[in-house]
Symmetry: C2
Subunit: 260 residues, 2 copies
């Protein structure tokens, strides 16, 4: 918080970005008052920022109802951010290769603060469909999340667990912090994490952390995802941990040299 109060932090820019951040697939248009309310920015300032963003083409305003949507410039920026993200560029080919070699679904994510950010994903056609969120809070319910948690240092782990609010996503979702801690213990000993239909029914995943070798910090995770219709947990445990750890170490190499 201290950081944000100093002279070398631009509150104005922060507010503008908070406004842009309100728009996504589930919120394709919003009103001015709504934006003001959601961001806590007063109406005049909201008006100024929205006006600015509209003039620059990042947002556009309906002539009829004045509702606000993303503009073409935002679309361009989206493209650029996607293709200009070096970590994505260096991790993608590794995952593609493993995908073609092994013919299994693969997911990857970056740790940012206390959330996982979806990085790149390849899916086999057999995988049940579920719309993956870009930002993931429920670390405790996913293979990648548990892989990260199990390898964080105890202080950080406690900090995350303290703020956790458990949502029972499936019958198998770990129901308490105690169970989560126990599972994390198991994960640590096992060397990789297991998500046995805890996030979506019909889906078993195993996950491993991605490490910045130079800084010795956990920066993300990868997972292999299997439909229960074709794979059993036993099969997976017998055949895939090797693939997973190899993938994790290759990705770790890549992000280490990307200077994450």
């Amino acid at each position: 918080m201290n950081n944000k109060n100093n002279q070398y932090f631009s509150k104005t820019l922060e507010k503008g970005l908070i406004i842009l951040d309100l728009f996504d697939r589930d919120h394709q248009h919003r009103g001015l008052t709504e934006i003001s309310r959601l961001t806590g920015i007063n109406k005049t300032s909201t008006y100024r920022f929205v006006n600015t963003l509209v003039q620059l083409g990042y947002l556009r305003k309906s002539v009829n109802d004045k509702s606000i949507r993303l503009g073409p410039k935002a679309f361009v920026l989206g493209h650029h951010f996607f293709h200009g993200f070096d970590i994505f560029q260096s991790v993608k080919p590794i995952i593609d290769k493993t995908f073609f070699d092994q013919k299994i679904s693969i997911d990857s994510a970056l740790l940012h603060g206390h959330t996982l950010i979806s990085l790149y994903r390849r899916e086999m056609p057999n995988l049940i469909y579920f719309r993956l969120p870009v930002i993931m809070d429920e670390l405790y319910a996913r293979a990648m999340g548990k892989a990260v948690l199990a390898n964080l240092d105890p202080k950080e782990l406690s900090a995350i667990l303290k703020n956790v609010h458990i949502t029972k996503l499936t019958p198998n979702t770990l129901p308490s912090k105690q169970k989560i801690r126990k599972d994390i213990e198991l994960t640590r000993n096992r060397g990789y994490s297991i998500n046995n239909e805890e996030y979506v029914e019909g889906l078993i995943c195993i996950g491993a952390p991605v490490t910045n070798y130079r800084e010795k910090t956990i920066v993300g995770a990868v997972s292999l995802d299997f439909p229960t219709s074709e794979y059993s947990l036993d099969m997976i445990r017998k055949n895939y941990p090797g693939v997973l750890t190899k993938l994790a170490s290759e990705v770790s190499e890549a992000v280490t040299s990307a200077d994450i």
Copy 2:
């Protein structure tokens, strides 16, 4: 310009976005001085903005050489902008359908100021590969560009042509403004535009404008793209104008109701 000087325009936000806009596939990292020079923002302010963007996670700074790259938050924003852009969402299924029905490569773009912004594209495997730019200035050398130019009102057309700097991309690229005007005339009479290997060798495209029916303005274009190895101009002219104009009118419907 007047607009940008009033009280309801935030110069600070504009500058922050100009900085973010410097990062793309071809510019994955930049230095502070470089950013300051490119944007014309003085070094202290550049420092403040970059610092802000780093703290918010939109940029990240290498510990070693202090070089600046996109951060995870930018990647998320990219995702959101891409999937939250309603025009993309409404145009995509139309193009997908035509693609499956006709088995030909299709491209679409939005007009923003004097440039075309790549919206959505489907390619047949037979198409020669060329990396498409997200932003396109060379309207005169592409089917979509000429389709737009031919349907703009004369004043706007002249404004665009005045600033045009012709680059001879292939032997067939229209070499002068006079030839461009003549071709635009032909395009208008014909009802659709033809790009006969003027942009890339081996590629013939036909294009038609996308119109906002309510506002009666040109808002973009669509094109059908054919490799010369399998299609001749004659074949294309005989068989595909109908497909093209149908597609264009469907897309126009969609963007009209999207209230572009």
